[in-house]
Amino acid sequence: MTQPIEREPVSDEAILRYLDGHLPGGEREAFEATMASDGDLKARVAEMDLDFAPLQTGMAALLSGAPTFALPARRAPIWHYVAAAIVIFALGVGAGRLLPGATDSAGWHQAVADYQALYTTDTVAAVPMAPETRLAGLDRTGAALGLDLSGAAEGAKGLIFQRAQILQIDGKPLAQLVYLDATGAPIAFCITRREGADSAPKDGRLSGLNARTWRDAGYGFILIGDAAPDALRAATEELRGKIQL
């Protein structure tokens, strides 16, 4: 392809900025004016003008094919997934404030919150799972903690159970049960062993999310997500009644 030699040829970079909407108002108008009278420039713009919407839609669809790194699946040995789960969890912890040191109760709540803050509706909804797979995951997760979690699959008013997986904190298993609420917001219900006296549920706000935290019979609980405090309070009462301690 030959380019006509001009005194000040418009660069590809300028065309790119124009197409990407990065030219400031005045320059943009000047560019369009030049294009109107310069068929060659117009042709060069057309060569680079591309609708990225199908690419973005196709790419969005790919996300649903992503393997669930935290769950045992076909290919790799289970420790791969366990390692990945720990790592993903650590990533959720973010700045490494808590790594790998001991976490008091506020610490593990914050760790869960940081992890949960990375969740979107797609994270949860994009992984379709057969009901029996969900329940098997829940059984396994409960077994890791020595708890019968089967009641939690019923969810609560406005909360639909999606999946359960085992993470880890301070070398102890951490059960993560994921729900979607009516607005599609992901809500996590997490349980880990915590010594200490029982404590009644209380409201909290962590990493921009609302939470309810409590302790029963040597287990610490947190219900957290981008939901109204009232909704979390009601769901807490329901879920508490469904866990056999």
Binding site: L50, P54, F69, R75, L91, A95, P128
Partner: protein
Amino acid sequence: MPRLWRYALVMTGNRAEAQDLAQATALRALERVEQFRPGTRLDAWCFTILGSIWRNELRARKVRLGTGHIAVEDVGLADPTPGVEVNILARQVLSHMASLPEAQRQTLYLVYVEGFSYAEAAAQLDIPIGTVMSRLANGRKRLKQVMSDDAAD
């Protein structure tokens, strides 16, 4: 994590390798978590790590093994997919992306799929911003050509 995996898939063109790459990225991120600067984007940081592992380690291995070429047909997309049409579209865009030279593919992906700015992409890839822009310009031309050829078939 699905986004890391997708980036890995676009770069490797192969499901198993994408999984290895995404996993290696997560492990590396954990080892270096103290290097993460709070207040900066965690996703960009992970993407940078993925890009560097790909560039410095896995890609070299693939090229050595002579398996650097991407066969999109080998990309087994997961079975529980939301719908057949979506699956076809996903396959198609992957195949279009795979037809680009690696540097263009990576840069286009970061800017037009992930929405990073030119400057952010430049920082991630450790290249000048002008290089990002020329890759985008050339990648656009090439992709446009590929897509119109495909549509004409």
